[in-house]
Each structure stands twice: as structure tokens, then as C-alpha cells.
Amino acid sequence: MSNRVLMKGNEIIGEAAIRAGCKLFFGYPITPSTEIIEYLAKNLPKAGGTVLQAEDEIGAINMCYGAACTGTRVMTASSSPGISLKQEGISYCAAAELPVVLVNVNRTGPGLGGLGPTQSDYFQSTKGGGHGDYRLIVLAPSKAQELYDFTLEAFDLAEKYRNPVLILTDGFLGQMMEPVELKEKPTSPEVDKSWVVDGARGREKRIIASYSLTNEIGEANNLRWEAKFNGIKEKEQRWEEFYADDAEYLLVSYGTTGRISKSVVLNARKKGIKLGLIRPITLWPFPEKAFIPYKNKIKGIVTVELNTGQMIEDVKLAMDCCVPIYLYRRQGGMLPTETEILEFLEKQFKLSTEEV
């Protein structure tokens, strides 16, 4: 039986969270993420869960922190200014190694910004965001089905690594209507829950905290986290390749622009330009492995981003800057057209064959 339905992006995230067994959602409304809390307010109680609208985003993330300490599946969602407010709490969740699922429906900034699609929070998402040396696992869906699948999986990943997982989308993905197959969730792998606090019944008391005034202990903690992050880097890099095999040029783009870039590739191929696409799916860990086969093979790269050029730094590192790498960007909520991206590529690499 097909379970294919037409749903709004944000609602898909809500539905997937329920099906993933999320029992608690703490949030504070902010456009363009609000449909997530609204959808869950309506539907999570029917599944035996609770939605609590917190006093602010700081309250919401700290409620998540508390709930996650009990081993309960918990999520919060917001948009950029709200995610900024959550950063302290996210840092604490990372330090206490808590499996919290976070959603950022990225809106433009800095400041209050606007509601249009943007990728301005790439640095904030992948390089820490809050204080201290931690990483979030960052998933970047680019279509309805991925909003669903990645949300389902985010809960497993968070528990597997005892680390917060961030789903990074934007207003375009959040507001669009697209068919999605509401697949049954595969059973989650058994995870160790011997760390949770739920009352010391017949066992030693447990403390979940992140305070250490002894530098030696502090370093031991950092080394333990580093080892975890290295393990995630090794095992969890994900990306999609599209016409990349024989490509002479590559676009690198994720999320909304990853979608647009696919059409650009098809258009270029029609014109005889051997263009391919690498679409990062995990933004952290950044899929460095994807680039290895192309290092001495291609002639150049264009990253397509909705910011001043953030992911391009990771692409340059992954490529060891061995080919020219250019940025094509739009900002402030504007989306590039397929034509303008292709024109940029042709101009940078002097590929314009037609208009001589």
C-alpha cells in the first residue's frame, strides 16, 4: 500500500518526528519554521506526546536538555534568530552528550533579516555555533522525501552518537508542497541507555553535567569528544553525485540550491558541457571523501550558495585548492535561476560557445 501524500515541508518534519517516536517537542514560534510546532501541537498529543511552547528559545533548548537526560526522544525547531538564542543550550547538550534533534529553517540575517530562503547559517551550523569545541551532525535535505527520511534518521543518529543532530533547511523547503512517501520507520537499533537519569532506583546515583575545574579532566573530556567526532567523520559523510563520473566541471551545492543545480547540470549537458554535481548531504561531517576521485580529474568547480561564500571554504580544503573554485551566490532571500548559474560557469571557465 502506497502511503504517498502531498504535504508542506515543515509539516513533513513534524510527521516524521512523530513516526520516529519523538515524545516531547519544546519550541517557540518563528517564521518560517512555525508550521512545525503547529503541526506537532495538533498531532503529537494524539501519539501520546507533549508539545510545550516555552517562554523563549532559551527555555525550549534547556527543556530539550532536561528531557534528553531521561533518554526520551525530544526535538526543537526554530529559525535563525531563534537558533542563535539556543546556542548556549546546544553547547551544553553537546558537552553532556545528549541526543537532541534540532531543526533550523534558515532565514536571512544578520539581525532579524527576512524570511526568504538562505544558507547564511552554514558556518553557525557546521563550525560550532555555541562556545567550546564541539560539532553537530548536520543534515541538509533538498526535497520532501529527504525532509522525511532525514528527520526519521536524525533521532537514531543522535542516539547512536549521543550528540545533537541538526536538520538544516530553509523557508523554500519548509513552505513548498511536494509528494512524500510516509515510509514506515525501520526499528531503531538498540542503544545503550545506561547513562540516563530517571531516578536512582536500586542503582548508584548518576550525574549528567559538564563542569570540570580540573584541567586534566577537561582535556580528557575534549579528547573523548574529539575521538567521537573523528569516528563520525570517518563513518557518516554523505553526499549525492549527479553526472559527476565523467564531468570536467563540478557544481557543489546543497539543500535548495542543490536542487536548482541539478537542472543546471541537465541544461549544461544539453549544450555539450560536461558538468556534474556533488550535493553534500551531511554538511558536518563535510563529505571530503566525495572529492578525492576528482582532485586530478576535473578542470574547475563552482559552489552555488545562498550566502557570501561559506561552504566554499570546505570545498577548497577538500580539493586542496588544486583547481579553480568559484562562488556563485545570491543573498537576502533571493534564489538564483538555472540560467544565471550556467552563464556564470561558462564565463568563469570561458565555455561560451554560442555567442562569439
Binding site: 532536561g66 531516578g199 536512582a200 536500586g202 546515583k205
Partner: protein, 250 residues
């Protein structure tokens, strides 16, 4: 021979690390006794703040979660919503609950969150070395009010329990002191009631306890108690500030 005085089971064997004469130790002991008497040690999850109060996570024998500065009640809310049949309490300094955590103090109370909060009011930031707190008294010298708290510059001290007592979701609020044996008994009664309110599933309960900080007040332990009595007790409304009808029948 019968043992008449010992460590309550609600406390671990870890020795208190407070400065001499600091009444944090008395307050923690009272909470420890209450946990034992109500037989809730194994059902309880405590939330510790940042500050001298934060060391409590090592001293209580129940499970504990360490929160960020000011966030203990939001963290407690998350725990309680996940495990409604457990007892959840926060133990926070006045800076933690009445300055950086004020939004949670107000809204945890307004929601009638079924948790218990213990606020320790020593009119100063203890851990960070004696800076001005929202509870610092008029004219009181601290390292960030070296000429004394000036109401024009710094505003008035905040009597948080009094504010919290006005909110509907709140079932019990008391402001007590541990400066004398008599007051210690009163304080324990209030703390016990605040936990019983939660056991009965009634709503939010807050007990504020006036406490000394001899180190940062620059006074001897004995003089500190005297100072508390003479200066803090007249400013902060003392006694049971709110006892909801349902609580009277407990």
C-alpha cells in the same frame, strides 16, 4: 547505643566544600532530610545551577543534572515532562534564579510546572567572588557596587518569592531563614511542604531561604547571621507567602 544524629540518607558521603559558616550546608542538609523522610531519594532527579549552589550535585544522593547558569527550571521542566511520576527539584542561588534565569522563574511558576524550586538568597554572587546580585540590599557594598548599591543606578532589590506568589499556577511559596534553630525548623517544614505539593501533583512550589556568605560579606560566621537577621529579614517578606487551598489540606 542509639545514634541520634547522623548524615541523612538524602546526602552522599562527600564532604561539603563550602566556606566556614556558609549556610548553604544547613539548607542542603534540610533538603537531604526531607528526601529521606518522604522516601523519595530513588524517585528524585535534582537540577543543579551554576554558583556555589551548584556543588549540590555531588552532595545529594539522588540523580542529578547540571544546568547552565539560570536554566535549572527549564531543564527541570524538560525532565518532569518526560517523567511525570518522578520528583524533580532545582536548587539555585539568587543570581541564578532571580537574574539570569528570571524568565524561567516566572514562566515555570505561571505554568504551574509540577516541580519544586529551592532558592538560596545570600544577597550576593558567591562563587564568582562577591558581585552584586539582584537581591543585594540598598547601600550594600559588593565588588561591582563598591560604593554601595545605589538605587538610582542599580535599582531596587528583587523580592522574587513575593512576585512568584502572585501567579496562579503557584501552589506554595515560603520565604524562610536558617539563622537560628527555631528558624531552621520552620525552614525544614516549608521545604517538606514544597516537596509534598509536588508529590500530590498540585503545581509549582518555591521556597526561598535566606543564607549567609561570610566570605564575600567580609564578616565572621556569627556576625553574618546577625547581619542577615538585621538587614535581610526586614527587606524580604518572610513566612508562607502563598498557601493554596489544596495545600492547606496536605
Amino acid at each position: 547505643m542509639q545514634k541520634v544524629f547522623g548524615r541523612p540518607k538524602g546526602l552522599t558521603e562527600v564532604a561539603f566544600s563550602f566556606c566556614p559558616g556558609c549556610t548553604h550546608g544547613i539548607i542542603m542538609r534540610l533538603v537531604g532530610e526531607v528526601l529521606e523522610e518522604l522516601e523519595i531519594i530513588e524517585d528524585t532527579i535534582g537540577v543543579s545551577p551554576v554558583g556555589c549552589a551548584g556543588f549540590c550535585q555531588d552532595f545529594f544522593s539522588c540523580d542529578f543534572v547540571g544546568a547552565a547558569h539560570g536554566r535549572a527550571q527549564a531543564v527541570g521542566t524538560g525532565i518532569k515532562r518526560a517523567l511525570p511520576d518522578r520528583i524533580v527539584f532545582t536548587y539555585q542561588g539568587d543570581g541564578d534564579i532571580a537574574a539570569i534565569g528570571t524568565q524561567h522563574a516566572i514562566h515555570t511558576a505561571a505554568r504551574g510546572e509540577k516541580i519544586t524550586s529551592i532558592m538560596v538568597n545570600n544577597a550576593i554572587y558567591g562563587m564568582t567572588g562577591g558581585q552584586m546580585a539582584p537581591t543585594t540590599l540598598e547601600g550594600m557594598k559588593t565588588s561591582t557596587s563598591p560604593y554601595g548599591r545605589d538605587l538610582v543606578i542599580n535599582g531596587y532589590p528583587l523580592d522574587l518569592p513575593k512576585t512568584i506568589a502572585t501567579l496562579d499556577g503557584v501552589k506554595y511559596v515560603a520565604s524562610v531563614s536558617v539563622d537560628s534553630p527555631k528558624n531552621i525548623l520552620q525552614a525544614k517544614k516549608a521545604i517538606k511542604k514544597a516537596f509534598q505539593v509536588q508529590q500530590a501533583g498540585l503545581g509549582f512550589a518555591l521556597v526561598s531561604v535566606l543564607s549567609t556568605c561570610p566570605t564575600n560579606w567580609g564578616l565572621s560566621p556569627v556576625d553574618s547571621l546577625k547581619w542577615l537577621r538585621e538587614n535581610m529579614m526586614p527587606v524580604y517578606e518572610m513566612g508562607e507567602l502563598k498557601v493554596a487551598e489544596e495545600v492547606k489540606n496536605l
